[in-house]
Subunit: 540 residues, 2 copies
């Protein structure tokens, strides 16, 4: 592992001082764990003992050998700011409640994860070192499936693959909506982070319905219709009565979500995927303006992805195949390599779902609008077998693929961090964002690997910074680049909809003092000892 | 006004004792206002003085003559439990902040309303007597309109009529989605109550994006992207970063919403309304099961209304035209009168929006499914000129109509209260709800006037209890009937999505102790003096 040599280097260079402060625990493997600040070693050990009594010896991880998977992430962490103290993996809500009780007693901070595959954002690692990972992957039951309503109630450990298998085994007429690397990702985790996907159900939080939340004091809250006796409406009606609470448990640290309801898309009779191939980087503006009205009037019902050539190529190629220099890949080189692979500088994927007749009535309207942007409108007829077309054909029907993991192999030892600023779905915005992102990425010597996920009225610009995590120099540069990205985009009003653990606080500052104040008040009301995920989205 | 004689009767009968307790203020008009409990008269007068200094003499209403409009409602209130102490009408956010400061100083409870036309649920009247109405109708600016994105930012006093006029004057290519009696209703008020309408944008809270909330301490929170400097994404992106907060300010008393963003539906090239006429009350089950898959796969994109014959007829007829007896109208009499008016026992309205070609490709699928229920599928070709078809043709394109006000004239002096339990969108549910509602309504001597609003996976059953508010006996019976409805529906898990001020607490109990506990904690965190709308949705 490159991680080892990097840590060794840090230590010998003295840069790892922070790691070896009072909380650090030396490990025979040469890595470190970090204890929670202000929790003495013997108190930590006592807490671990109590946790073992709850979940069993084998489900508490508090040494270097067993915690190593929890500290693995693709983002830079040169100063060891995101190193857990260990992990505990309950298998039931009762155990979660008991663990929270221990955490309150010892002031042990817990960082809940579902499956811990928050890929571009820090995987399972906590916002600050010393937190113990509350790993919910063993709670992986599909609790209910209503085949009339297309609703499901699942535990945090349920992956998209698992639910996909369940649907296939039972031949249920529904499709999932998956995020990137869906098979290994938790529905609950992705939805709570407000992730997005590729089908008409691409806005996952929009399609979420009802949750069970374990509060810090053990109170078990069922939102919406969940607490109504004899009700069968928990997964059917989102809003319930009185204040709608679900939202405050997303991207938050106000409770531990232990069950989540989701709506699933009915399988359509016919599905037809499209790609619009655009030759030039500056076409991004025209394509954006062409997409917007169709997302607003729902002629394009799904989450449209405008994929930049470099983001696409990085899935299946390594950088040196395209460019041997350290300098950013010149546009012309990229364009030529993309063309050889059947790709444009932008490749815009959308799909139609319905009957042959409805699709036939809709298709000409879309073709004509995209042709007017100068793009080529292509379907299976021209693109079948093209690996990128096939990749998105799979995604836009909620299929299983891990191909995007390829991105972390782009450059040296796996390193990647995502920045995802939002903007109105207007060409002037994507034009400006692309120019600014390219400028900053190239200034720091990185390749600009973009995608835009276009919702109804806004878009997420997903910028994947791929670097060599085996190189400290490159890791440091990646960190600085990301900080400049967040800061300079923020100055233009383009803030991230989500953040890696490394910039959670920086982003939170951009959302204003009143927002932080209200979040702080809610935190105090619901978790007065601040034991759940302190620092999550900048909330202490 | 019938209200006067009722109050006189109450007083002479001694039943009005509660009205004349310490807080009651005798009025030369023979009505009453109620002071807030535990706020002595001189303190109240001092508070009123300070409010006058803020908004001007003419915008504080604290005597019988000027407050009479605020206490007018259609629901029964025999014990004077929903009588305001007066009203104050600011014209700016600054004034709202100043008013809240006074309210905190004097512990003066404020009941915010936008335009106060919460028709079946108590109009402007508060959950408990003595609250002062915070009337926001003077804050009626359309602050922003983005004609590319179809988004708008409005103040609470903006009515659907006002926004409709703005759209027409500026020839903007968008449609509204209106609730019942839309022209006089506030967008903000209806959306905060999570009201529903008739177009594809029928779930108003779904289509809401960004709000400004004045907290009890004067903190001005802009949710979502609203606090990001230089951002133009406030009305484009719903979720923002960190906990999604908007939901906790709907159906709540955690703050005063002073601005609200909404998405508007692009005007389609072609619009085609349909009605399915069903002969028998028990057809409700088959029709429900026919609607559900089309709402889920979006072949029917709009909020479908299944309107019962009696609800329909009451818009344009008075009861005695159909039935002279006090006993509930027999089904056969109702059926015959409905048939004479071109109506069935259920009249199910939906619409298609798009191009001629897309509608032509979709229509046969719907026709065949609804024909299989035994219903007649009718369009403009057969129904043009029918007042009920025209009414829904207007509503399903977001047009302006006040015709539903007719309902309060059904029986004697205007009295009506709505009960709206939710259920999964399944035929067995509507069949069971209709049977239970009819049984209870008829037991108490009222006519069962139903509508079902069918969302994607759930439905709201809207039961309008129409009674003679001029009769104390009938008012008391209406109250008892409503209590039995809420209770017995609740036992089956069918709880209201919203409530009149008279049953807010009763409904809240059905949503469980944990829910109430969390709401109480949030209230304490955001409004520690409990000055904003105490009792709203059962939250002290």
């Amino acid at each position: 592992m490159s991680g080892l040599s990097r840590r060794d280097m840090l230590r010998s260079a003295g840069a790892g001082g922070a790691l070896l402060a009072s909380g650090a625990v030396a490990s025979p493997l040469g890595g470190t764990r970090m204890l929670p600040p202000e929790l003495p070693r013997d108190r930590f050990a006592a807490a671990v003992g109590e946790l073992r009594a709850i979940v069993g010896e084998e489900w508490v991880f508090a040494d270097e050998a067993t915690t190593i998977s929890y500290k693995k992430s693709f983002i830079p962490d040169l100063r060891g700011e995101h190193v857990p103290s260990g992990a505990v993996a309950p298998r039931s809500v009762d155990e979660v409640q008991a663990i929270l009780k221990v955490a309150n007693t010892y002031k042990l901070p817990l960082w809940p994860v579902s499956t811990g595959h928050n890929m571009g954002y820090g995987m399972a690692t906590p916002a600050s070192s010393g937190q113990m990972i509350l790993d919910l992957k063993r709670m992986n039951r599909i609790l209910e499936f209503d085949a009339d309503l297309g609703t499901v109630l699942v535990e945090p450990g349920v992956t998209y693959q698992q639910l996909n298998d369940y649907i296939e085994e039972n031949d249920l007429p529904f499709w999932l909506d998956v995020p990137t690397v869906g098979p290994i990702v938790s529905l609950v985790g992705n939805t709570l982070e407000r992730g997005v996907g590729y089908t008409p159900y691409g806005d996952h939080f929009f399609m979420q319905c009802g949750m069970e939340v374990c509060l810090a004091d053990g109170t078990l809250l069922k939102t919406g219709m969940g607490s109504v006796r004899n009700s069968n409406t928990w997964q059917a009606f989102k809003w319930g009565y009185g204040p709608y609470l679900d939202g405050i448990f997303t991207q938050s640290n106000f409770g531990v979500v232990t069950k989540l309801g989701m709506w699933l898309m009915p399988r359509p009779p016919v599905y037809k995927p499209f790609v619009v191939r655009s030759a030039n980087l500056e076409d991004v503006a025209k394509v954006t303006d062409a997409i917007r009205p169709f997302r607003m009037n729902n002629l394009i019902p799904n989450g449209v992805l405008m994929m930049g050539a470099l983001y696409q190529l990085a899935m299946f190629h390594r950088r040196h195949e395209i460019w041997e220099e350290d300098t950013p890949i010149p546009d012309e080189v990229l364009k030529a390599f993309a063309a050889k692979n059947g790709l444009g500088m932008w490749n815009t994927y959308f799909a139609l779902y319905g009957t042959e007749e409805i699709i036939a009535a809709t298709e000409p309207i879309l073709r004509s609008a995209f042709a007017a942007t100068g793009g080529e409108v292509l379907t299976e007829a021209e693109m079948a077998g093209n690996p990128w077309f096939e990749h998105h054909r799979t995604l836009m029907r909620g299929g299983m693929t891990l191909e995007e993991i390829g991105l972390v192999r782009w450059r040296g030892a796996g390193g990647a961090v995502a920045f995802a600023p939002v903007a109105p779905a207007k060409g002037a915005e994507t034009f400006g964002q692309t120019a600014l992102a390219k400028e900053i990425m190239e200034k720091w010597g990185f390749d600009y690997a973009p995608a835009y996920a276009v919702g109804g009225r806004e878009l997420h610009h997903i910028i994947f910074l791929m670097f060599d995590k085996g190189s400290d120099e490159e890791s440091a540069r990646a960190e600085q680049c990301m900080e400049e990205m967040v800061t300079r985009f923020g100055e233009k009003g383009w803030c991230a909809y989500r953040s890696s653990v490394s910039t959670m606080d920086l982003v939170a500052q951009q959302y204003g003092a009143e927002n932080r104040d209200v979040n702080a008040r809610l935190k105090q009301a619901l978790d007065p000892n601040h034991i759940i995920a302190p620092g999550k989205q900048g909330i202490a």
